[in-house]
């Protein structure tokens, strides 16, 4: 039997990043100081970005199980932004936390490879493998401070709920396979167009929707997020709050809008609307009572998942684009906010930010920019993201849903601006200590510039 050798160009980015992750593991054995590993992973990310934007990399391979199209390319660039910024903010932070293990960078790369596979999956098998590669790496990352009880607990909670959700996903996949005799997403769509919906099909769709709601931390499947975000090292929290979420959205967009469940839009739209409203409500209202900044940002990230879901619910090309743009903008502003949390070498309580503008005016101003952007105030990028997604939903006829989203968005101003109020209007209790480093500075510079560039010239990310 003659088996043709698969075309490797479309998978080149994944191959590069996996090889780089393996090389990092070997270098880790030889190096006492782990700094060079960070630079190697940045180099690998740079080469991968180059491979992603090659026009030759578009296409299908591995018998149609893997697809590289403009949709997956956009998501892969989000994952690369996430990876590069996370490496930059982790470099000195890990030393300070005495958690400088070489595996850290290798796991970051493996998790990113998993996300890229998810964005490119055209087959349920590849989708599942990508998901697990991402999830297993992030479980370990959450617990990388292994002598810290909070980090252990975060990893344990993330692991238990994560593997529970992937078991639900698998059951959904097995039902879908039994009904359609195939695991190819586009063939499933073609098959379902002929047969229409049935009870087992609805069950399988619900299970898959629930499994991905766990991944994007949408309510009522969000319970793990605050604990995991609080307990994990802050750099990992920044990574987790953007990467797996974006990967989950990539799969939801592909499976629900572009392929398998495309024809069942009338069935899944009410489910997703319920999840979106609940997510925005829980995220924004519970965030009001938080006193820990990482927990507050965790609930804020839950709320942002709710806004981004509106793009999927709209069900149009425009909605999908708005969702993708939103996630890119979210990557910059959220990692920026976490970079400031890392920069301040003190507790994670919001109280600790009192009077920051007196002792560290520049740091306070930067935090102000990120908080404004997360609220969605122009001229920051957050405004553009929210505006686009709300416009897309209105054009699709969901005006009432957008009204609800805007109300919750207004509520969110309270807890974001409370941080600003603490920094600018409260008396300073103690001099704030900061732990600056060139790489952290670079990350903050990139994020703050992008927040303004996108906010003033939205054309750089739209279209």
């Amino acid at each position: 039997m003659n088996i043709p050798f698969p075309n490797l160009m479309p998978v080149a980015p994944e191959i590069i990043i996996t090889v780089a992750a393996s090389i990092l593991l070997i270098f880790d054995l030889a190096l006492r100081n782990k700094g060079p590993l960070a630079f190697l992973s940045l180099l690998a990310a740079g080469v991968t970005v180059y491979a992603i934007i090659q026009p030759a990399s578009l296409g299908e391979t591995f018998g149609g199980m893997f697809i590289s199209d403009s949709y997956s390319v956009y998501f892969k660039l989000i994952f690369m932004v996430n990876l590069i910024l996370t490496v930059l903010i982790s470099l000195k932070y890990l030393q300070r936390q005495k958690a400088e293990y070489g595996e850290y960078y290798s796991l970051l790369l493996f998790a990113t490879a998993g996300m890229m596979l998810m964005a490119s999956a055209k087959d349920l098998i590849v989708l599942y493998l990508g998901l697990e590669l991402m999830a297993l790496s992030t479980y370990i990352l959450a617990g990388i401070k292994r002598h810290d009880i909070k980090s252990n607990e975060a990893a344990m909670k993330y692991f238990l709920l994560g593997s529970f959700s992937s078991a639900l996903l698998l059951y959904g996949i097995s039902l879908l396979y039994g009904l359609t005799t195939t695991t190819d997403l586009y063939q499933i769509a073609a098959y379902l167009k002929q047969t229409g919906s049935s009870m087992p099909l609805l069950m399988s769709m619900t299970l898959i929707a629930v499994a991905f709601s766990f991944k994007i931390a949408a309510a009522p499947f969000h319970m793990w997020a605050p604990d995991v975000y609080e307990g994990a090292p802050t750099s990992v929290t920044a990574f987790m709050s953007v990467g797996p979420k974006a990967a989950g959205f990539a799969v939801i967009g592909r499976v629900f809008l572009m392929s398998a469940f495309q024809g069942m839009q009338a069935d899944w739209t009410p489910i997703l609307i319920g999840i979106a409203i609940l997510t925005m409500a829980v995220g924004n209202i519970v965030a009001l009572s938080q006193t820990n900044i990482k927990r507050m940002l965790a609930y804020s990230s839950i709320a942002h998942a709710g806004y981004a879901l509106l793009g999927i619910i709209a069900g149009t090309e425009e909605g999908l684009h708005a969702m993708m743009t939103y996630l890119l903008i979210y990557a910059f502003m959220n990692i920026g906010a976490f970079a400031i949390v890392i920069l301040l070498d003190k507790g994670d309580e919001i109280k600790d930010y009192e009077g920051l503008s007196k002792s560290r005016p520049l740091v306070a101003a930067l935090m102000l920019v990120f908080m404004f952007s997360l609220t969605g105030i122009p001229p920051t990028a957050g405004f553009i993201g929210k505006f686009n997604i709300f416009m897309a939903a209105i054009k699709a006829g969901y005006t009432w849903l957008v009204v609800i989203a805007v109300i919750f968005s207004a509520i969110s101003a309270y807890y974001y601006l409370r941080v600003v109020m603490n920094m600018y209007m409260k008396e300073m209790k103690q001099e704030a200590a900061i732990a600056p480093s060139p790489s952290l500075g670079l990350a903050i510079l990139i994020t703050v510039l992008m927040v303004f560039i996108i906010g003033i010239m939205p054309s750089v990310v739209i279209g």
């Binding site: 098998i125 297993l136 617990g143 607990e153 593997s163 097995s174 005799t181």
Partner: protein, 100 residues
């Protein structure tokens, strides 16, 4: 020959045992075993579908699931060992550093 519906029934029952076990038991080891039950029930249904549909994809997926389940358990137990070293607890009721 055993009809397909028996296999699917068996797989559903085992899956439900896994789900209920995961939700009501508070011992992490038992929760891990419940997840394992859920994964293996999926394997049963996939192999049954694969046999009755005369299509190999289902069995290929089963091999991947078995491999991933093994690494998942390894990671889960590793996290549990790290947790146990810092705090001698395997019950979720005792692991409550963070709340809210």
């Amino acid at each position: 020959m055993v009809p397909l519906s028996w296999y699917i029934g068996l797989s559903t029952v085992i899956f439900m045992i896994g789900v209920v076990g995961f939700l009501i038991r508070r011992n992490i080891i038992v929760m891990l075993m419940s997840i394992e039950l859920m994964l293996n029930s999926v394997n049963i249904s996939l192999v049954a579908f694969s046999h009755y549909l005369q299509d190999l994809r289902g069995q290929i997926l089963v091999f991947f699931i078995i491999t991933v389940a093994a690494s998942e358990t390894a990671i889960g137990l590793a996290i549990l060992v790290a947790l146990y070293k810092n705090k001698e607890a395997v019950h979720t009721n005792e692991i409550t550093e963070m709340k809210g």
